[in-house]
């Protein structure tokens, strides 16, 4: 019971104020993996603290319903809350009703979340199976198929097995090295289960709309996983081929990789960070900041619970 209020306040604070900080730290994507970890840790931290608060409330209600009723009555009416008032049916039935409604609401949200994630998985598996039957095998890359479509595009979709889909339009547009970069990028998505992270965060923002952390995290997780896959592809083929592929598929016009060696300019973040990689010292500072925030977010729920518990055990007045 003691920890319910601070945990709720903490969850509220992180859900509202962490997005601005995290977005600033992960904006450039110079440490994409740590940025992704920080966002996911923030989400886990909020969900864990809400779970701890709920658990505390439920066990308090089970252990002493009248204590909870009294506490709630006092919080509403102040000190004018004699026993006949809070132990009356008139007060207790609405309170029990509210508690049940809240529990039911939480259960429905959890169910809808599970269903949205499951539905996304089913859609993906069906698409991947259909693509693997319809497409022609792309030689030498397992799970890659070519669809006879003029529109240049490339994507991957999870499934059993997963598929990497290339169109004839994309193959015609890209140089061989650029095509290798695209395939390495998609392989990295599948190997890292990026779709799962994206689906899980997107499901949260769909089920709980209007929570700043969830709304923002959905976009950031998908942006940062793209950057992670870019990093993997760049390690595989080098940056010019990857940037060439990005520009070609982004504009629909062929871009010779060799011409990219001297390119610079104001472009979207993905191309920019590939063209102008961060120098070591800002990168190290960025990593340090992200690590500090991540550790703080990971430790806070447990730390707050312990603090509330130990203050209560020593019968010290709580600061809240």
């Amino acid at each position: 019971m003691r920890s319910a209020l601070p945990m709720c306040l903490y969850a509220l604070a992180v859900a509202s104020y962490s997005p601005a900080l995290l977005a600033r730290l992960s904006a450039t994507g110079m440490s994409a993996r740590m940025g992704l970890t920080a966002w996911l840790t923030a989400i886990a931290s909020v969900l864990a603290s809400i779970a701890i608060a709920l658990q505390a409330l439920v066990s308090a209600a089970a252990a002493g319903w009248h204590l909870l009723a009294e506490a709630f009555c006092r919080s509403v009416t102040g000190h004018a809350c004699p026993p006949p008032m809070y132990s009356s049916a008139l007060f207790e039935i609405p309170l029990a009703g509210a508690a049940l409604t809240a529990a039911l609401g939480a259960a429905i949200l959890a169910w809808r979340y599970g269903r949205s994630v499951q539905r996304a998985q089913q859609l993906a598996h069906a698409h991947s199976a259909a693509a693997l039957i319809t497409g022609r095998r792309f030689p030498a890359v397992r799970g890659a198929v070519v669809l006879d479509v003029p529109q240049p595009t490339a994507y991957c979709v999870p499934g059993r097995p997963a598929a990497i889909v290339l169109t004839t339009g994309a193959i015609a547009l890209l140089e061989p090295e650029q095509l290798t970069a695209v395939i390495a990028h998609e392989k990295a998505h599948l190997a890292g289960s990026h779709h799962l992270l994206v689906t899980l965060t997107r499901g949260l923002s769909a089920v709980l709309p209007g929570v700043p952390l969830f709304t923002r995290a959905q976009a950031e997780v998908s942006r940062l996983t793209e950057m992670l896959a870019d990093d993997a592809a760049a390690r595989h083929t080098g940056r010019p081929a990857l940037v060439g592929a990005l520009l070609a598929l982004g504009t629909g016009a062929p871009v010779p990789s060799r011409a990219l060696a001297a390119a610079a300019g104001d472009v979207t973040a993905r191309v920019q960070r590939l063209l102008q990689p961060a120098s070591p010292s800002p990168r190290a500072r960025n990593r340090l900041a992200l690590a500090a925030v991540t550790i703080l977010l990971a430790a806070a729920p447990g730390l707050l619970t312990w603090l509330a518990g130990s203050l209560a055990a020593r019968a010290l007045p709580l600061p809240w």
Binding site: I133, H195, R202, L246, L249, T268
Partner: protein, 122 residues
């Protein structure tokens, strides 16, 4: 052979490449020239494809004659529509190499491409 899924694909492409309806025997004769395969394997794979809606069949005498429910082009177009539908459910499950970008961003990218030094002769 690398499993059942691949055989489904091979058989669908054979049906698509064939003009007119085919029997299990037709495909078995063709397939067994390329790889060791059992007649029943071809039959059960085609039965599966029928059950999943890829093939339709008409009984003629003792055998079924199979045709594809839609052409390869129709299936490809359908997949592409699904993959490119903005804001749809598939958006969360497909990872496009380049997200569908709006005109302003596309313009920026075109500017970058224009500013690239022209390819020098070797």
């Amino acid at each position: 052979m690398r499993g059942f899924g691949e055989l489904e694909s091979v058989i669908m492409h054979m049906v698509w490449d064939h003009c007119g309806p085919v029997t299990v025997r037709d495909l078995f004769d063709q397939l067994s020239q390329e790889r060791p395969i059992a007649y029943t394997t071809v039959m059960s794979t085609m039965d599966n494809l029928h059950r999943k809606g890829w093939l339709e069949r008409v009984k003629e005498g003792k055998a079924y004659r199979y045709t594809a429910t839609a052409s390869r082009e129709e299936y490809s177009a359908r997949l592409m529509r699904e993959a490119l539908a903005a804001g749809g459910d598939t958006e969360t499950v497909l990872s496009h190499f380049v997200a569908q970008i709006g005109d302003p961003e596309s313009d920026v990218l075109r500017t970058v491409v224009r500013r690239l030094p022209a390819r020098r002769p070797e």
